[in-house]
């Protein structure tokens, strides 16, 4: 397919891998301390697994799958709020499909739907706005979710709702912002990251400047990367090249999409409709200052949290889950105690197992082949433990 296959060319991949290997040989790496590069965005995680990129890389490089999957970092309490809103008798609750299966403390939206709540899958917030127009006697709530990538479309939908005078529409805002979270990860004492692949789609909106502190203050190279497999390999090469050269800069591999200064009309809309929350709860990472946005006062009539009463309870992550450590790269997905046994895509405990962009689900679905035997081994081990106990 034109404009896609060009970025999946195995010959070019081979050439790039050769160059990557040459660079890696120049970097001093020990077995105890492999080179850790974090891809911040879940879209990258998905591509890495879908194309089997991890196994093509030299062993000395370890990819750490970062927090950039908005579905994965959604805390249980917020899912409970969604369910409460959806179960409101007069509400049509609209959501992107991948949020349907995220477990709350009692149920997911999918289960709420089966129990009779009017939950509908939409592909865009404008679809939800249209539903509101078609159902004037109902209240339509849109589950707004995602980083700066999806924020503009939500913002423009609110502006459109106001323009058209639509009153029975509101959003349950769970938009989050990536920069404070990357900073929080960099500040946590147990991390060993050497460089970053920056999120291409977020950068398309915010540009490259917001990442500069990572290069300047933390001395880590960051390359804003595209999502096709060759994009990812080239970006990895660029990060390694910086390490070899002793540089730490923000570079842009995804120039065909990402302008350095970002997208101003989109940023204007975001600034108009949203304002920063003092803090926002992330699954596995806890509360992070200024990491989420709410609907600004000027548009509060479109804020579902103002329009309806939501329980707004903080629910602790399941104890067995080690999502936070996986997100920070401290442990690998399969090193989590419940990976593949109590927690699987069919019965996800942790959110990283829910979305196809979540590191655990990606490992489980697409994972390295020896993982199958690992799961078997662990099941046998656990069965033995039960018998012995």
């Amino acid at each position: 397919m034109k404009y896609v296959d060009e970025f999946r060319d195995p010959k070019k991949a081979k050439a790039l891998l050769k160059e990557i290997n040459l660079l890696v040989d120049e970097i001093e790496i020990t077995k105890e301390r492999p080179l850790q590069i974090m891809e911040v965005c879940g879209g990258h995680t998905h591509s890495i697994f879908r194309y089997g990129i991890e196994q093509m890389l030299p062993d000395k490089i370890e990819l750490v799958h970062g927090p950039g999957c908005p579905v994965c970092v959604l805390p249980m309490g917020r899912v409970d709020d969604c369910v409460a809103l959806a179960e409101h008798p007069n509400v049509i609750f609209t959501t992107f499909g991948d949020a349907m299966r995220v477990p709350g403390s009692k149920k997911s939206l999918l289960q709420a739907k089966a129990d009779g709540a009017d939950v509908r899958m939409v592909y865009s917030p404008l679809d939800a706005l249209n539903l509101a127009k078609e159902n004037p006697d109902k209240e339509v709530v849109f589950f707004a979710l995602g980083f700066e990538t999806t924020m503009p479309s939500t913002a423009f939908t609110i502006l459109e709702a106001e323009k058209q005078g639509i009153k029975n529409f509101s959003l349950f805002c769970n938009h989050i912002t990536i920069i404070p979270t990357v900073k929080a990860i960099l500040d946590s004492p147990d991390i060993l990251l050497d460089g970053f692949l920056g999120p291409g789609h977020v950068s398309m909106v915010i540009g490259n400047k917001p990442y500069e502190f990572i290069a300047k203050h933390y001395n880590k190279p960051l390359v804003v990367a595209g999502f096709e497999p060759l994009d990812i390999l080239q970006s990895l090469w660029m990060v390694l090249k910086q390490i070899v050269d002793g540089r730490s800069e923000v570079e842009n591999q995804y120039q065909r999409i990402v302008p350095d200064e970002g997208n101003n009309p989109a940023l204007d809309a975001i600034n108009k409709v949203f304002e920063l929350r003092e803090f926002f709860e992330w699954r596995g990472l806890g509360s992070i200052d200024h990491s989420g946005v709410r609907v600004s006062d000027a548009y509060s009539k479109y804020d579902a949290e103002q329009k309806f009463s939501v329980p707004n309870l903080k629910i602790a992550d399941p104890k067995a889950c080690q999502c936070g450590e996986v997100l920070k790269g401290v442990i690998k997905p399969w090193e989590c105690k419940v990976f593949g046994t109590a927690c699987s895509p069919e019965t996800p405990l942790g959110a990283l197992m829910v979305s196809s962009e979540g590191a655990c689900a990606a490992y489980f679905n697409y994972g390295k082949i020896d993982l199958t035997s690992l799961i078997k081994q662990r099941e046998e081990q656990q069965a033995e433990e039960i018998i012995n106990a």
Partner: protein
């Protein structure tokens, strides 16, 4: 005969006369067991399906054993319900789907399909004209596949108790003595064959629902596979197993194969045929064509030395013109489907969790 007796006989004639359906929509009366139902059955089902079994209007079809005995030594039996939304979509409709789907379920077991049943659950208010269209489509599909629809049932339910129209078809067929298709027969070294482009049906349904405002021209691959499979088995009677890759796509079928045979089934992404339109839709929606539904695609494991001959035979049949070898079977890792990606990496292709898309068939 007295005048009164004559009058009664005349009125009886009028009453008995095979009726025409009155009105434009199906009402609860059409499912009540009374005259309206009789008219509906006569006018729409019996006259369209027109065969000796159905016209006798007994409570059951009676098929002579000779019809089975002469063709094989086992009867294959299957049933499937069809709830696709929308009822009509590019390349097919619920009627053709209900016939082809059940015919294919028989055929992939090596059976020659003999007869189908037709059970319909109709929502009150459904258009008679549309019902007639669906039944006509069923008849055409049955004729093409060479099966008769020999008995049926109609129920009408209150508005909202069902969505428009649901169809159940059951089918029976005969399996010739020499065929024994089963996944446990798959051996190391076998190759995997499909009869063409993957994911067309799933993509066509998404497209037809119009939720995405994508302008597209994807046609469902809805087709009967029994003639194709018959010629495949005539060429190579020791094909290990065949299955039609409907819901859950080729990935699901291959996982079933891999687990039953306890072998590794490896797909080569560069050999898989996926249309650009389907690929494009998958890119936009984050779907995987390996999991998209097909309604006229088979997956077969065959001995490697007969694969080329089989492909040639398949390509002569319109249903198999795009047949291609897509993978091979190796010993390990056991019970797993692996995809060698176009990019040069390997990944596991697992069973589908949850549903990719609802009500596609």
């Amino acid at each position: 005969m007295s005048a009164a007796a004559k009058d009664i006989e005349q009125k009886g004639d009028i009453r008995r006369r095979s009726g025409k359906v009155r009105g434009d929509i199906v009402t609860l009366a059409h499912g009540s067991g009374g005259k309206a139902m009789r008219d509906l059955i006569d006018d729409i089902f019996v006259s369209t399906f027109a065969n000796e079994h159905l016209s006798t209007l007994e409570d059951q079809a009676r098929i002579h054993l000779d019809k089975f005995n002469s063709n094989g030594d086992r009867i294959a039996m299957t049933t499937d319900s069809y709830v696709v939304d929308p009822l009509f979509f590019p390349g097919g409709n619920i009627g053709s789907l209900a016939v082809n789907g059940t015919v294919n379920d028989l055929a992939v077991g090596g059976a020659k399909p003999t007869a189908l049943t037709c059970g319909m659950i109709i929502e009150e208010g459904f258009s008679i004209e549309t019902l007639r269209r669906v039944v006509t489509e069923m008849k055409q599909a049955a004729d093409f596949a060479g099966v008769s629809i020999v008995t049926g049932d109609t129920k009408v339910v209150h508005r909202g108790a069902a969505d428009k129209l649901f169809i159940n078809t059951a089918g029976i067929g005969v399996i010739p003595k020499s065929y024994d298709l089963t996944a446990t027969k798959i051996q190391e070294g076998d190759v995997i064959i499909t009869n063409g482009y993957l994911g067309d049906h799933g993509a066509a349904i998404v497209d037809a629902r119009g939720e995405l405002a994508i302008e597209n021209t994807i046609n469902s691959d809805c087709q009967a596979l029994n003639h194709l499979i018959q010629s495949m088995l005539e060429t190579c009677p020791n094909i290990r197993c065949i299955r039609d890759a409907t819901r859950g796509g080729i990935a699901t079928v291959l996982n079933e194969f891999a687990q039953q045979a306890n072998l590794c089934l490896r797909l080569h992404e560069d050999k898989l045929r996926v249309r650009d339109e389907v690929k494009g839709m998958c890119e936009i929606l984050g779907l995987d064509p390996l999991y998209l539904a097909n309604e006229g695609k088979l997956v077969a494991c065959v001995p490697a030395d007969q694969a080329d001959a089989l492909i040639k035979v398949m390509q002569k049949d319109p249903a198999g013109k795009d047949a291609v070898i897509v993978g091979n079977v190796s010993a390990s890792p056991e019970g797993v489907v692996v995809l060698s990606t176009v990019f040069g990496g390997d990944r596991i292709v697992d069973m589908l969790v949850g549903e990719q898309l609802p009500r596609i068939c």
